[in-house]
Amino acid sequence: MAVAKWLCRVVIARTHSLELNSYSSSKRIYLNNGVNSRPARYSSSCHGQYDLIVIGGGSGGLACAKEAVQLGAKVAVLDYVTPSPRGSVWGLGGTCVNVGCIPKKLMHQASLLGEAIIDSKAYGWVLPEANAIKHDWQVLREAVQNHIKSVNWVTRVQLRDKKIDYYNGHGQFVDLHTVKVVVKTGKEHTLTASHFVIAVGGRPRYPDIPGALEYGITSDDIFSLENSPGRTLVIGAGYIGLECAGFLNGLGYDATVMVRSVPLRGFDQQMAGIITDEMMSKGVNFLMKCIPLSVEKKNDGKLLVSWTNITDQSTHSDVFDTVLFAVGRRALTKELCVESAGVKTVPESGKIFAENEQTNVKHIYAVGDVLHEKPELTPVAIQAGKLLAQRLFSNSNEQMDYETVATTVFTPLEYGTVGISEEVAIKRYGEDNIEVFHAFYKPTEFSVPQRNVKNCYTKVISKRKDPQKVLGMHFVGPQAGEVIQGFAAAMKCGLTMKQLQSTVGIHPTVAEEFTRIYITKRSGVDPNPQSCCS
């Protein structure tokens, strides 16, 4: 009976705090009776001290919060999605889960399956006529959104299970140790903590041209677009722009990419050129060295885009169903009012300069896309968040290693890479002190359907002098992400050319090309393959 009575009290308190839109640990309510037992009709509530408040429920924030709570900290997570100009919103999980990696990979897979259907005919599958094979955007969209929602739900369940307080509201710094957050019901909570982690990530930018905000969409909107995108202009040739144009083209939509300077700026430019060549051969149009001037809506609902070619100053225009801006992302630090806590940001991007994830304010940290000059990748944010929590709440001294981070661009023919580009290698060590090995190759599976292999290429950059430590590995081909992952571990171990070349390959795969690579650029020998096995 005493147990039941205690249970009643716990549950009343727990349900009371549920009304306040947070999941509190029953232990804390039991002990801090005074502060937390205010009835719900009060419009604001002041919560006791947290050990850690994480602002941003994305890859970095959640990883940090979950690790911290496991180490015994009292943690709260704030997450909020401001609707995009098009009105798109999404649930807990951040960019990756909702409008990034996950839906992107699913749509990329959808477009690859379209290619596979065509290939399958050569392998003996009896199919309807090519023009009877169509794609239904609504089916794909719903499948992708259902998956995203299931991940949102699992994430919320996890927070609840791990007893992390979750506030679905827009947080803002009030002072060094205080954050205020207004939740859906309009209630305002004032929270204090001994540590803060800023993990607010970023959102797509819009260019300052007429019609962009009113009529353009971004990656925030494409994955939940109600109607099929139709003839699409993608403005921007970073990896987001290229990946979007790639899968849209693969799904059967006319896709054009407008490039201001060069595609995949910051990546190895030879590889970037190979990627765009492949996309062109697949039917994607490229408008090189062009910048948009305006977007107008016509009477029939289509969009008239005007642009100028910066090489000859000529102007052009054309009509599209959808205009997708992928011209860069900006950090959400301004909305967070970081200056109220004294946190300094980089003026242009709004990003935070942090040394070992610590900002200029000792007890305020940052992880993820919001960090200045760190890779904007989910696994980087997750790893950094976890290690940070370990340093804060246990005896760990382990810092995040931002070097040798593998990444993949999921264009129709994928590009995987780990280590440095050829340009950076030349700049850092000098052309005479590096060796560049390269090879074109033919995936076995491409032979039967006679797929174009001219862009299947791999490159390894190493130091010239023995033991020829490997500095960078680059791969364009199918399953590039799967291929490169293992080599990242090898490079972290200090992979040398001798070790790479003495590794026996698995046959027939595309990954084995790295174990067979021997022709150097310096030798001038033709890197095209003669035959398969010898």
Partner: protein
């Protein structure tokens, strides 16, 4: 120190309580303890559920108490999510099996709209189906199952009369 030890051992007691078939105490206390629910629970203790339709959607804790916990008739409780494909297969199947029966009701709970019920019943995956009779959870399954298993659950629910 003593208080801490006490509360810890109480937590253990609570956990083992949940695991036994005396879920009745837990579920009743959990739901009835919600501030708005408590009053209604006392009020509707003797209300008749004959006006309730056979298959219905639960929209609030109060709804749940009235139509499930206080139901004279056993109820199958289906935790459902719109984004879950197996749910979309199971829910119509449940409705199909329950509709012709006079002695069983079907309560559908959308997990997105009823966070407190999801929390109270510790639903971690959907679809989740509970068989409730006289406020007691007598059976449950998680995930899409075949028609045989659903029929067995219904049979078990309607077999013995009275608590």
């Amino acid at each position: 120190m003593n208080k801490m030890a006490n509360s810890r051992s109480m937590t253990h007691a609570v956990r083992s309580l949940c695991r036994t078939v005396v879920i009745q105490t837990v579920t009743r206390t959990v739901i009835s303890a919600a501030s708005t629910c408590y009053r209604y629970y006392m009020h509707n203790n003797f209300s008749s559920t004959s006006q309730v339709r056979k298959s219905f959607v639960i929209n609030s804790n109060e709804d749940f108490v009235n139509k499930v916990m206080n139901s004279d008739v056993p109820v199958i409780v289906n935790f459902h999510a719109e984004w879950c494909d197996p749910c979309k297969i199971l829910s119509p199947k449940l409705k199909e099996l329950v509709d012709p029966m006079n002695d069983v009701h079907l309560a559908i709970i959308d997990v997105e709209n009823n966070a407190e019920l999801v929390h109270a019943f510790d639903v971690k995956a959907v679809p989740a189906v509970l068989a409730v009779r006289s406020g007691l959870v007598v059976d449950k399954f998680i995930g899409l199952v075949d028609a045989d298993m659903i029929e067995n659950l219904i049979k078990k629910l309607t077999m013995k009369q009275g608590g």
